[in-house]
Symmetry: C2
Subunit: 289 residues, 2 copies
């Protein structure tokens, strides 16, 4: 049986993305951090790993990018990608009046994405960050004290009806909860990476992800991109991240259309190597969109 | 008197950066969010604003980048920059034994930067995110309950000696606190932007920051960079951020060496305009490094 490690806990968007890709017959293992998902794949405790890499509103998941930088010699490759449309709901207790909610729990990215809606609809509710949207939902039923304990003021409890979570609507099912959709006229999508140790089969349309650092000289980035322009290879994505060794030195992540086994891609990568200090091809995989 | 709005509260790194630039004779006003600092400058309630833009370990401050995207017609320009070396300390109560600390409070960026040190030295301490490093220090003296209130377990208080904050050492002064330096062999610097409504005087060496979006066609980014390469203008920085309108569409932030009043820079910007949907020069200002 194929074992899939994903950024947990259960029932988060990453879990749903993993199930979308690998179906019901795989065995799923959740890991508490992005780093743990990589480790499980590296130690072959899992065949594949699933981690978020980018959200269309909030941008790159820097934990995932930095894991590639921090462990440059890791054998982990990008085996594929999955995209998911994200619909946020305000999850409240069945008996709750949403207007009276005093605390809203969610993952920082979800709180940021719903910031405008919360400003308008629950301007006075305190926003509390949790490690996952699933954890946010479980907070509703926990006993919670409001504010700090001051010896002169009696302890005040905040009821389940005064708490809410922002999460997928499915997380309300089977509990005494209801889900109120949070409308958003912007496209909210998250892209997830499938991590593995081998190479994927070449698809009809492919993408190659790479990581590199440049020599410190004028025009270095432009020169690095020249081989792709000459070969007519389209670059679909560029991200920069700090090197963490020297201030204002960067690593670049670039995605291109094509497979590293194609001669024109091979040639361009060979030419790129000349202007880089480090070049690592993270993987070639089919484009799913 | 010159009024300076900065991302507060008082005594944070942004406050120190503002004082480094404007000295003791200016009037300082702290604002709770990056957005508020921009607003104060836009409404001319402050002459200048100071916000963080980038940390050498954690990367771009996306709130600041996104404020430029969300208010493209804002008259705010970048008037200058300030850089600060960041030294983190573990701030504990005078009588505390650091090994017994159960909770460490700090801003998410500081917690991330000290993550490896905390893993090694305080592996079991709970890490609690605060809005600022100054707020983290004030948490030490607040009365706090440990964990959730369960009706069957008596309320347990966590003492000041069991709490710590990660912040600048200066924040321990004048209180019953001591600061233990957290060593870091990496370069930890933060760069801050000075926001204003006018143009700065041209310095000996200048930098120009711009924001643009590209037409959706193959090689668009390469073509956008070509005028700078041809004019021998060095690009020092590139950042991409989601457009938030359509998934996987981006805005680019680029810094170049030179002043927008120089003819070669003017010409390159004019050529760039042809391959962009939107181009906004955010400001030209002296390089401080």
């Amino acid at each position: 049986m194929t074992t899939i490690a994903y950024l947990g806990p259960e029932h988060t968007n990453t879990h749903v993305a993993a199930r979308k890709r690998f179906g019901t017959r795989a065995k799923y293992v959740h890991a508490p951090t992005v780093d743990d998902v990589f480790h499980l794949v590296e130690r072959q405790n899992a065949d594949y790993g699933v981690v978020p890499i980018e959200n269309s509103l909030e941008g790159a998941v820097t934990h995932t990018l930095d894991r590639f930088i921090d462990f440059k010699h890791s054998p982990v490759t990008i085996y594929g990608e999955v995209e998911r449309l994200i619909h946020h709901c305000l999850i409240v207790h069945q008996g709750a009046k949403p207007k009276l909610v005093k605390r809203v729990y969610s993952h920082p990215q979800a709180l940021a994405q719903c910031g405008a809606w919360l400003d308008k609809n629950l301007p006075r509710a305190e926003r509390i960050e949790t490690n996952s949207t699933a954890e946010a939902v479980s907070e509703i039923f926990k006993t919670t004290l409001l504010g700090h304990l001051d010896l002169t003021i009696p302890v005040k409890e905040i009821s389940a009806a005064e708490k809410a979570a922002i999460a997928r609507g499915e997380l309300a099912k089977g509990k005494k909860l209801r889900a109120i959709p949070i409308p958003d006229n912007r496209e909210n999508k998250t892209r997830f990476l499938i991590l593995g140790l081998g190479q994927t089969k070449r698809g009809r349309r492919n993408k190659t992800s790479m990581l590199f650092s440049l020599k410190d000289r004028s025009g270095a980035l432009y020169d690095a991109l020249t081989p792709f322009k000459r070969a007519g290879i389209n670059l679909t994505k560029i991200e920069s991240r700090p090197s963490k060794k020297k201030a204002w030195e960067y690593y670049f992540f670039i995605d291109l259309e094509g497979h590293q086994s194609e001669p024109r891609v091979k040639r361009a990568l060979k030419a790129l190597e000349k202007s880089t200090l480090l070049l690592k091809v993270l993987g070639s995989y089919p484009i799913t969109r």
